[in-house]
């Protein structure tokens, strides 16, 4: 890490080790997050994302390592630092007995004591998450998506400089998910630094400036989405429908395509041929040419760049959502 990067770091974690008995939850975990970033922590359930966040927030004691937030050592009693942080937990954490307005005001009161200022902040938060029409409603009457928005509003109302979003879109409909993601980008645009954990690679790819892929408490890869994708062998994925092809013929076609020099692997499944290729401008032409010479009838053809799942698959040998 360069010196100027370190000085600009909002989050700095070095050699963090956390054990639950015999289970090593975090194995010398390192992290540097710069101001204004949306940093994505990506990994399957149980990979240590939430543990890492809880250690940073001092909710969990850890065995080894150093954590600095805003350039200062983070300790359980650093309430001055905690006041600059917002947390949107994975589980919706609001009071069922309080209305939307009261809930946001209650959590905001943990950071802002001035009543007038707090009222402004609460109104802004309500507007930010689009709950204007629901301010007097209690959480039990809200849909899952609206509840998630309330969960977010409670974490951001005090305008924190650093916000931890721990899988905020779990069990959320696509419309609400997009609204949440748009909101996170807006928070970044307003100057906040965001740490975003998810096992939904599309979301992370969509909004995060840098991404860390974790598994088993270890860092597997770190970089922008493009950097991560460039770091793997697969440069292009080609999917070709083979209408009417029986299993034997499809497998034979896969064998033919797989023998091409730029094709890393090729499989036939569900009437489709899936070919993973190295980055090359001629992949599609070569594959179609090979199928034509084998006299295989071709249906629709798709070509797409690799995803973060491919990155994870190549590094770990298994799917991200396994």
């Amino acid at each position: 890490m360069k010196e100027n990067e370190s000085a600009n770091s909002v989050v700095s974690v070095r050699s963090l080790v956390k054990r639950y008995g015999d289970i090593l939850a975090l194995d010398h975990f390192n992290l540097e997050i710069g101001k204004g970033e949306i940093f994505g922590l990506l990994g399957p359930n149980g990979c240590g994302k939430t543990t890492a966040i809880n250690c940073m927030l001092q909710l969990l004691a850890y065995d080894k390592g150093d954590i600095e937030l805003f350039g200062e050592a983070m300790k359980p009693t650093r309430y001055d630092l905690k006041r600059r942080i917002g947390v949107v937990p994975q589980q919706v954490a609001v009071f069922d007995e309080l209305t939307v307005f009261e809930n946001i005001d209650c959590f905001c009161a943990l950071y802002v004591s001035d009543k007038t200022r707090r009222r402004e902040l609460v109104e802004e938060a309500i507007e930010f998450v689009g709950l204007e029409d629901y301010r007097k409603m209690r959480p039990k009457k809200l849909s899952g998506g609206l509840l998630r928005r309330l969960n977010i509003a409670c974490g951001i109302a005090h305008k924190p400089e650093l916000i931890f979003f721990d899988e905020p879109t779990v069990a959320v409909d696509p419309q609400s998910r997009n609204a949440i993601l748009d909101g996170i980008v807006r928070l970044r645009d307003e100057g906040a630094t965001v740490v975003y954990t998810s096992h939904y690679m599309e979301e992370v790819e969509q909004i995060c400036s840098r991404i860390m892929i974790m598994d088993g408490g270890k860092i597997l890869a770190l970089g922008t989405a493009d950097e991560l994708k460039r770091g793997i062998a697969v440069g292009e994925k080609i999917v070709i429908e083979l209408p009417g092809a029986v299993e034997a013929r499809g497998c034979a076609a896969a064998q033919t395509v797989g023998a091409l020099p730029h094709v890393l692997s090729c499989e036939f499944a569900n009437g489709e041929l899936h070919a993973a290729c190295e980055a090359s401008e001629r992949n599609l032409l070569d594959v179609l040419g090979a199928l034509k010479s084998s006299r295989v009838a071709v249906g629709r053809v798709y070509s797409e760049p690799p995803t973060l799942n491919d990155v994870f698959l190549e590094i770990t040998g298994r799917e991200l959502r396994d």
Binding site: I85, F95, F107
Partner: protein, 413 residues
């Protein structure tokens, strides 16, 4: 902190279990008690026996002066009134009143100044008539007995040895005065020779108020739920909101202090509501010391809050599990406070006699005792002693809560 306090109180009073079990249930039980127990008080009350006295020359003579005074005494309105006496001019009128059922008995006075009663055979066969006649008869019997004893006493005096005929009441009184026995005569004239009812309690004892006091103890313990919920909402290892609050800019200790204060205020007002309902709507006697009753409510609320904090701090038990523990403790303690009727009351009394320490460590019994002390004792010493016991209980529970909360980590993967 003010906003957090207000929101915590708001959150607590809106919780369904608090609304049902802490606010409404004691009111419902008090109403039930009122309906069930009001007949008991009715059955203990004795109405004055209605009777007539023939106010003829014998009755108005000097011989019957003591009898007239006695009759005035026992028919004077008040708690000790035994007879409701109406005067009639003739015996016929008296008999008519008895036969018509307007009076249980007709009292006449003979020439000696001694009373006798006439009753209706029909009324004597009825239960109420029989009771009223018994009361009249008991009063007259007692008078005649005292009269005879006094006469015997005077006649045994040396100065009375020369008397030829049995003395009348007036002669007895005059004789006693002339013989320098004015003191004895005065005593006979006054209440001193009669049995007096002396209340050792501040207010007249009621057979039913103990149930209401036990109910206050029960309500205090039911309120444990309030602080269990408050603690759970403030602790990272017991709820999601607790975890969220723990990472905020306010220390967990301060948040817990706010939660405890909010619990205390909530419980106090829940108990105050129950107290006000019993006191002003149901008319339950609390000894007229309402200001001190507030102190008792505060002590009960403090004890309840502390016990709830201790239960709420127990690790590895869910909130419903803790509520179940609280309910079990409440029902068990209320049994020995005498809440569940006469057998429970007798059990509480037996335990109190054979194992006083069991009462001392029973929060429900102590809460009930606070109101009992306040109502019945002239001195406030027993009341303040009970408050001290409640305060010590609260301190112990708070210490237990603090020890349990200490070093409890929030751990999950």
């Amino acid at each position: 902190m003010g906003a957090l306090f207000a929101h915590t109180v708001r959150m607590l009073v809106r919780q369904r279990d608090v609304l049902i079990w802490v606010i409404l249930f004691p009111l419902a039980l008090a109403t039930l008690f009122h309906v069930m127990l009001s007949n008991i008080d009715e059955s203990y009350r004795v109405d004055p026996a209605s009777c007539v006295v023939v106010a003829d020359d014998n009755f108005n003579s000097e011989r019957a002066v003591f009898f007239r005074e006695m009759l005035d005494e026992v028919s004077a309105p008040g708690a000790g009134q035994l007879l409701d006496v109406a005067k009639v001019a003739t015996l016929e009128e008296g008999r008519e009143a008895v036969l018509s059922g307007d009076a249980a008995a007709c009292i006449t006075v003979d020439e000696e100044g001694l009373p006798s009663m006439q009753v209706s055979p029909l009324a004597a066969s009825l239960t109420t008539g029989s009771i009223d006649q018994s009361v009249v008869r008991a009063v007259l019997d007692q008078y005649c007995q005292i009269y005879a004893e006094m006469k015997q006493t005077f006649l045994s005096q040396p100065s009375a040895q020369g008397m030829q005929a049995p003395p009348s009441e007036g002669e007895l009184a005059e004789f006693a005065r002339s013989a320098g026995m004015s003191e004895a005569a005065s005593a006979f004239m006054s209440d001193a020779v009669r049995t007096q009812q002396v209340d050792v309690l501040r207010v007249q004892a009621s057979s039913t108020v103990r149930y209401y006091y036990a109910l206050m103890g029960f309500a205090a313990l039911m309120s444990i739920t309030v602080s269990i919920n408050a603690v759970s909402a403030a602790r990272a290892n017991t709820s999601a909101v607790g975890a969220r609050r723990q990472v905020s800019g306010v220390s967990p200790a301060r948040q817990l202090a706010v939660a405890m204060a909010a619990s205390f205020v909530t419980v106090f007002f829940c108990l105050l509501l129950a107290f006000a309902y019993m006191r002003f709507v149901l008319g339950v006697e609390f000894g007229g010391r309402d200001g001190l009753a507030m102190l008792a409510l505060a002590a009960c609320a403090l004890m309840s809050t502390a016990l709830g904090a201790a239960i709420g701090a127990i690790p590895k038990i869910s909130i419903p599990g803790k509520t179940g523990i609280a309910t079990g403790i409440t029902c068990f303690c209320a049994l020995f406070a005498g809440l569940y009727g006469e057998p429970s009351m007798q059990l509480a009394d037996r335990v109190s006699q054979s194992a006083p320490w069991a009462v001392l460590v029973n929060p429900a019994a102590q809460a009930a005792n606070a109101f009992y002390d306040l109502t019945y004792y002239d001195s406030l010493a027993p009341f303040f002693a009970t408050l001290c016991v409640l305060a010590v209980m609260a301190a112990v529970f708070f210490v237990v809560a603090a020890l349990l909360m200490r070093r409890q980590n929030y751990e999950r993967l």
